[in-house]
Amino acid sequence: MQFDGVPLDFILIGLVLYTVLAGADFGAGLWQLLAGRGPTAERVRDHAHHAIAPVWEANHVWLVFVLTVTWTAYPIAFGSIASTLSVPLFIAAIGIIFRGASYALQAGVSGPHERRVVENVFALSSILTPFALGAAVGGIASARVPVGNAAGNLWSSWLNPTSNLVGVLAVALSAFLAAVYLCADAHRLGEPDLERSFRRRALVSGMVTGALAIAGLAVLRADAPVLGHRLIAGPGLPAIVVSVLAGLGTLLLVWRRRYGEARVSAALAVAAIVVGWALAQRPNILPGLTVQQAAAPTDTLIGVVVAVLAGAVILFPSLALLFSFVLGGRFDPDRATGAGVPIGRGRRVSGNRGFAGRVAAALAIAGTGLLTVASAEWAHALGVACFAGFVVAGFHAAAPAEVVAADTDGPSGR
């Protein structure tokens, strides 16, 4: 049934978005590490930091999305992959911890030494994580993950030519994406020297990544001949052609300083590689396990499809809002406008405290009766609602902020 493959399409979309969005955040970390020392390097690092700060968490969630949809819709595949590839996935997890923790720490660092330590941890984990995730993908793509609980080899499943290739490629693609995006950001901010330096990085990393990808096809032909063949001569070919064209187009656009379009075409070049892999590997998820065989029962698939479509209705407008603020320069460092004028300046929060207090007391008594004495389920539900009302009314009655704002330590005659 066609329906079996629908969640897989969602997973693929999630993987593509994770690669082109979070990938660029990883790449920004790489450029921070390679920035060197001195005041120019500080500016490069600051620029990379400011660019990813508002978005990295949202971009990271695509990974969680991919994981959860996979284990819901294709549980056998997920269990097999996660157990055989536990080592690279654990390394990626550790990388994710270091990245998030060092990001949180950046809010509190003071002095160049502390900053440098935290930033280096951030940058190193930004290389480690995409490499490990890429190596895991390489293990799946080269058919080294059989169905079963840790049925594959714990080491050769991710320490092999294909995994090394995909791991290195993941890092290189991230760096390329980041360079293009950061170049566009620098252009928007009106920082010509940063723009020049990221333009150079974009061009160089683009060429290096392209060369890597072409050399990689040779590696695939030797190490994973089936996938290699289907990628070059089979269903993957259109995607590869798109990727090559978009990659070349990006170089041209960056060269001609048309960064807005370059951003899109760079993302397209990278996305096409992920899609090409998926097309070449279909209909198998794992060796001997087709999408249809791996799929969860129908009720679950329907649940996933409904949840994802309903979620998308909320998600995409929210993402659009975030990215329109970020790309529109709303969150740029020099755009702080001072405090907005609040609605009710000078107004007091007023209301009938005594009444709120009596309501709170009444709700507490009613809640106790319904939740503790009564035993019917509807009574419990009502009891919980009473207690929620008790907390809200009680908070209003206590008016903690105003009371302490009004007096010092003595009794108050409110």
Binding site: P75, A101, A104, Q293, A296, T300, S318, P342, I343, A398
Partner: protein, 460 residues
């Protein structure tokens, strides 16, 4: 089609895993680090929004400063929560691949929906944090609301999965495999869900309320008690004080639900070896395999509390083979700690409320502030103890009565290495979180000079 049938009849079979206990401890460690952060996801956005609302409504700059400082704390804790939550997702596959492979189709939907609320949280926290001073005041306040809603829905989903593990439904087992799967019924048609959910939400407000209050309570003991500190103390302590007595009653409700659906867990909580009519309740003491030693007994107390009937029959541990008992003393000790701390918090809360109502001011006794200073960290202890009761009390089952934890575990080697690594890394994360919170607290207040003069003088 025949091949499909072949594969689906062969789910991931159980393996021999020497390090099952280490795998469980690694999972427990990951939860223990993550769950306090979940509380901040549940309760903190609402509290920040209340303060921002006070600013919008009164125009008092103090509330703006307070809301911004709490926003920084919220952002740092959210970043750490993002990673510790991701680790839990990884561990679903790294540690328990057979559980996920066999039952992912039943419970996975909850996590898939949780993923979306996580998205909304991450997106709007980015907007909210960077939108200070860059969006209009009202628009900024509005961008905070989705964070609060998403924090609540996300934990709702995760708890629905946990409730399903404790009280599974929505599927049939045939030949060791889940068939006839109805995930919506499994997750949301579960009578066991609601008490667990409410208990955790109230716990979220308790932990955040008392933890924040304890920070400013300690400030007062050190002599810093300006208008800023008083406000920052009064808001969370009021929330905690109102939530604490409610939690006592919600906990009692949860106990009755456990008594009904998981009698063995209740027997472990009490240390009741044999099925007893009119069973006694024991405080403190130690379970020696057949009864409680050195405890204080309240005759017929357990029957009264668990079934509201002094002569009710309470099932003992002897209803299942000894090999299927949870670790009784761990469950029991954690339960007693949770109840003890919860009662203490309720006493502090009621005392505070009485002073507020009777005297219209904050308590003045230093002992009150010392108690609150201790109550904050203790509330986290109670939180973790509560989860230990739920999760260790569920053993030896991962899906209660259906799948054993030993059948769920990974066949991969190297669990001790992973456990050791995660232990070291998380120790570093805890140190880092404490460090960043202290740094944020040490940053000078950006209160405007026109703030009320007497309190400024008092501050320095």
């Amino acid at each position: 089609m025949r091949l499909s049938a072949l594969v689906t009849e062969l789910p991931l079979p159980p393996v021999v895993q020497t390090y099952l206990d280490q795998a469980r401890q690694m999972q427990a460690l990951s939860f223990a680090v993550h769950i306090p952060l979940v509380c901040f996801g549940i309760a903190f956005p609402t509290m920040v929004l209340v303060v921002e609302w006070l600013y919008l409504h009164t125009g008092d700059e103090l509330y703006r400063v307070l809301a911004r400082r709490w926003t920084r704390v919220m952002a740092a804790l959210f970043a750490v929560g993002v990673i510790t939550g991701t680790i839990l997702s990884f561990e679903m596959g790294l540690l328990w691949p057979a559980f996920t492979a066999d039952f992912g189709s039943v419970f996975g939907l909850g996590f898939a929906i949780e993923g979306f609320s996580f998205f909304v949280e991450a997106i709007f926290i980015g907007i909210y944090v960077y939108g200070w001073n860059r969006l209009s005041a009202q628009a900024h306040f509005a961008t905070g609301i989705p964070i609060a809603i998403a924090g609540i829905i996300g934990s709702f989903m995760v708890i629905s999965v946990n409730a399903w593990m404790n009280h599974p439904g929505g599927f049939t087992v045939r030949d060791g495999k889940a068939v006839d799967v109805h995930p919506v019924q499994a997750l949301f048609g579960n009578t066991y869900l609601w008490h667990e959910l409410v208990h955790m939400y109230v716990a979220g407000y308790l932990v955040v309320g008392f933890l924040l209050a304890s920070v400013y309570g300690v400030s007062r003991l050190r002599g810093r008690w300006g208008r800023y500190e008083r406000t920052a103390f009064a808001i969370p302590v009021t929330v905690g004080a109102l939530a604490a007595p409610v939690q006592v009653l919600v906990g009692d409700w949860a106990g009755r639900e456990v008594a009904q659906d998981q009698p063995v867990k209740l027997a472990a909580i009490e240390g009741l070896a044999d099925t007893t009519r009119g069973a006694a309740l024991h405080m403190l003491g130690w379970f020696n395999g057949s009864g409680i030693e050195y405890g204080v007994a309240i005759p017929k107390g357990l029957s009264l509390i668990a079934f509201h009937n002094v002569d009710a029959v309470v099932a003992g541990l002897n209803t299942v083979p000894r090999a299927d008992w949870p670790i009784v003393n761990v469950v029991r000790l954690c339960f007693q700690a949770m109840v003890g701390i919860g009662s203490l918090l309720a006493i502090i809360g009621v005392f505070y409320l009485v002073v507020r109502v009777r005297r219209h001011r904050l308590p003045v006794s230093a002992w009150f502030y010392r108690a609150v200073g201790v109550a904050g960290p203790l509330s986290i202890v109670a939180l973790i103890c509560g989860w230990v009761v739920t999760e260790v009390g569920r053993q030896p089952w991962v899906v209660y009565g259906t799948m054993r934890t030993s059948a769920a575990v990974t066949g991969a080697s190297g669990i001790p290495v992973g456990y050791g690594t995660l232990l070291l890394v998380y120790a570093g994360v805890v140190v880092a979180v404490v460090w960043i919170l202290r740094r944020l607290a040490a940053a000078p207040l950006e209160l405007p000079p026109e703030a009320p003069a007497p309190t400024m003088a008092q501050r320095r």
